[in-house]
Structures are given as structure tokens and as C-alpha cells.
Symmetry: C2
Subunit: 290 residues, 2 copies
């Protein structure tokens, strides 16, 4: 099938493209340099020329620290709506969109569940993604597009932005620097980026519609992750926990139920998060030695 | 204050413009011929040139029978998001948007209430408007825009589209034609369009934020309205109820709570719906005799 992937050159997108190609699809990757998703005429011309049957829409503002509240969320929502309207009009049939764990109400300690957890987002990013999903899910029924919505949790692995926790930790410890930290008590759900790419491809290949958590379902504290990585690098004495104040207003536990992913999509990560963290460590060390 | 009104030449828009002008505002009316709201560059250029402090956004697809499910709802949602992003960036401060009773879950017989009734829409139109409101309400807090959302119920009066119930009924009875009808048992909340224009202006003038029902709060059955109009025209013997089947899947009662409008905005219709129906009848008769 001919499939357009937006955000194809990004951290997650490059893995999605690889996984789709392994499934035998003809992938048309779209990055910032190929097409401006804020230009509805250019987007419609592109979709009209390509006439893809499939679409995986990942592109969004992901500037660390900024994307949660930037007004750019309005432009990405608008651009996404126009992209889908073009996609259906030019014969599109199957689509998957990147959603986010931030669409859920965080705060109690239960696993976040597609059918049980309330959708009460606490950020413009989460509100926008959830609103986009509501519109697209209702619209898709009327235009005969099969639409699934893959909710992403925490992601790590090769090519992650260097300012983010795991690359920053590895880089500092490799340079022999001390790493000062808070208690590290927040518990999150981490999935290796290659696995996330495979999960997106599996969701696309399935006939599942609606929201599906794309996650590991493993609960790991930041402290466990930092400890594991520092031990792998034999630098655990350089990590100082409990010297910075804990962040205020952060949910203590954000972990997915992966029941839908496992039973309906039929995909589960085969390698543990710890082993994937080890691989990630090796990748960054190779990268730094280049 | 300089205020842009979109949909200014429409059935509701022309009344909103008049009411705002009475409040002393400098109104920049925008209709289809002035600006294409689907062209983000043109919209941004227009807003940058005008730099309005106020915005009342009414424009949307309202083609009778079509607007509920048309994919154009995606384009109107996108255009609205981009319009607001421009509005705030160029110094906008106070905005009111046209919402709809169709954002609410219909079906039980209680008055629809802004804080109590679940927002579970059953049409692409209702879903899109509600999703747009969720995004804009969250976004507005972060960019210091004061945003209110006026939910419209049934509207009637001068310049209504001729294919709709009240103009059609009056036209047929004036020509002495029989008017065949179902039981007319559906109960709705009707507001005269001039009053709706005044309600929009009052909401704009207030400091109220969030959703407010702009309605009469009067429960009238379609049968009562048809009977009243046919009696005004002395043609009641031409109306045949119970000869057509009742529509399937329509909520039996859609009536607003106007508590927020009355107590917080401080506006209530002064003239009864029956008197406004009489005025409407006279207006159409004059119009037909022109």
C-alpha cells in the first residue's frame, strides 16, 4: 500500500518508516523540508498527486519544554484537520495518528486505560490532541476511513533530542561529570523507539479503530532508570539523588494498560526495557566517539 | 472597541452587527466576499492590518440539512483555530464564538445546562464545535484572551433561509396551500434572531467566560408554533397534523437553562416568543408583497 508518513525524519518517524517498509509498504516520508503542513493548498496538491491509501500522521511541534503550551498547538490541529480532509477526498482508506498519554487525566495510580480513564487533559498539547481525535474519529465513520489513534507514552533510544533526560545523563556520566538529581520517584512507562515504530506499523496493519496505548506497560521510576544507566556506565558514584527539589505538580505515576495493544492489535514488546536501555547506552557511546 | 464579526452578512450576523454598533463599537463585518477564512495567509494579513481588540466569530457552514455531517466541519474548525491564533498574536483581547445546542447530549427531558449536561454530541457539527471550544478555552487562559462561547438553540425571524420551517409554513399558507405535517410533538427552544443578536452583544460586553446558552428558555412544541402562526394568518384549517410520520431519532425536548445568561450576563428576552412569532409573520408577509 502507498503510505504517507508525516514527521518521517523525526525521532519516532524514522523508526515508523523502517517498520512500514519491512511490511512491504511503499512509504512516502514527509518531513519539514518536503512539505509545509501549514499550507493547505500545498498539502492538498501533494495528496492529490500522491493519492495514498494509507497515512500515518506523526508531525507536531515537539520542542522540549515548549510543546506543552505553545499556541502552535492550534496550527498543528488545524493543519492535521486539513490534511485528513484532503486524504479522504483523494481516496485514503487507513490512517493512524500519534496521540499522547497527556490526553488522559493523570493523578490516580491506576494504569491508564483507553476505555476507562477520563480524558481530562491538563495541557494545551493534551487538550488539542484529544479534541483532534474526537473530530477525526466521528468524521472517519462518515467518509469510510478506518482510523486508529496510537497514544505515545515516554520514548527513548537512538536519535533522541540531546537535551532530554537519557541522552543528557549518558553524555554527562561519559564525561565523568557529577549528575545531581531529585528523588527520581516519578514512575513512568518507557518504550524503546524502535519498538514504538514497530507498534505503529502493527496498529496500521491491524483493523483496530480508535485509541490504543502504544507503550511497554512496565512501571519504572526515573530513579531506577538513572541507576541502571549509571551502573551500566560504571559511574554510579557520580549520581547524587535527593539533592535537587522534586518537580511540583507532576503526576507520581503514568503507566499504560497495554491490554488493547496486546490482545486486539496483537503486538507486545519482546525485549525488556532494561535491555533496551543497555542498547541505548551503547548507541550513545558509539555516537559520542564518532 | 474595534470588533471583527465573521459571518456578518448572515441571518444571525447582521443582527449581531446592529447590536454591537448600538453599544458604540466600531464593527468590521466580514462576510464570504470580504475574506476567505480557509486561507490562513489572507486571514493573518487581514487581522494584522485591522488589529481588532474584539472578535465575534459566527461564520460556519450552515447549509440546511447538510451542515450536520459535511466534512466542511473540519475546514471550519481549522479556519477558526487559525483565525484565533492570529487574533491573539495581533493584540486581540475579548472574543465570543457561536456554539450550538448540538454540543450537548440530547435525550433526557431536563433543561440543557452549561455545567451539568454532558457534552456528548451526536453529529460532526456538534463534535467539531465542542472540540473547538475545548481547545480555544484552554488556549485562551495562556494568551490572556477573554473568551466566551454562546450556544445557539433554534432561531427564527427576518431573513431566515426560505427552505426552513417557519418561512416555508408562512409562504405556503399565504398562498392558500395546505400544510401537511407530522404530530409536531417535538419541543424546542426558539429565540427571535434580533434577540439573539442582542444576547451575543450582551455576552461580548460582559466579562463572562466559558459556555453560555443564548436562548429563550421557553419550551414550545412545533405543533404550538405551527398552530399559532396558522391562526395569525387565519389559515388554521389548512394545517393537517398527524398526516406525515414523525421523524425518527429526534430528541423529544431540547430546551435551554438560561440561568447563566440571566444571572451572570444579565440579559433576558423582554418580549415573548409568541409576540416575536407574530412580528415574524408580519415581516414575511411584507417581504412577499414587495
Amino acid at each position: 500500500m502507498k503510505v504517507i508518513v508525516t514527521g518521517a525524519t523525526g525521532f519516532i518517524g524514522r523508526q515508523v518508516v523502517t517498520s512500514l517498509q519491512r511490511c512491504g509498504h511503499e512509504v512516502i516520508g514527509v518531513g519539514r523540508s518536503q512539505i509545509n503542513l501549514f499550507d493547505p493548498v500545498a498539502v492538498d496538491d501533494f495528496v492529490a498527486a500522491q493519492k495514498p491509501k494509507g497515512l500515518i500522521h506523526l508531525a507536531w511541534d515537539t520542542t522540549p519544554g515548549v510543546y506543552w503550551e505553545t499556541p502552535q498547538n492550534l496550527r498543528w490541529t488545524a493543519g492535521s484537520l486539513l490534511l485528513f480532509e484532503s486524504f479522504a477526498r483523494h481516496g485514503g482508506r487507513r490512517a493512524v495518528v500519534a496521540g499522547t498519554s497527556a490526553e488522559y487525566q493523570w493523578g490516580d495510580n491506576a494504569d491508564l486505560d483507553e476505555s476507562k480513564t477520563p480524558l481530562v487533559a491538563d495541557s494545551l498539547y493534551g487538550v488539542s490532541k484529544n479534541a483532534l481525535h474526537q473530530i477525526l474519529a466521528f468524521w472517519a465513520q462518515g467518509v469510510d476511513v478506518s482510523l486508529a489513534w496510537g497514544r505515545i507514552f515516554c520514548t527513548f533510544g537512538p536519535h533522541e533530542k540531546e537535551g532530554r533526560l537519557i541522552p543528557k545523563l549518558i553524555a554527562q556520566l561519559q564525561r565523568g561529570k557529577e549528575f545531581r538529581f531529585d528523588s527520581g520517584s516519578l514512575v513512568r512507562d518507557f518504550l524503546y523507539v524502535e519498538d514504538l515504530g514497530a507498534a505503529f506499523a502493527a496498529l496500521f496493519e491491524s483493523e483496530v479503530k480508535g485509541a490504543v496505548n502504544l507503550a511497554s506497560g512496565e512501571a519504572l521510576s526515573i530513579r531506577e532508570i538513572v541507576t541502571f544507566l549509571s551502573e551500566s556506565l560504571r559511574q554510579s558514584e557520580k549520581v547524587r539523588f535527593d539533592v535537587l527539589p522534586d518537580p511540583v505538580g507532576q503526576a507520581s505515576r503514568v503507566v499504560a494498560s497495554i491490554n488493547r495493544l496486546t490482545t486486539e492489535v496483537g503486538w507486545t514488546p519482546e525485549i525488556s526495557t532494561r535491555d533496551r536501555l543497555g542498547q541505548t547506552c551503547s548507541w550513545w557511546i558509539d555516537e559520542m566517539n564518532k
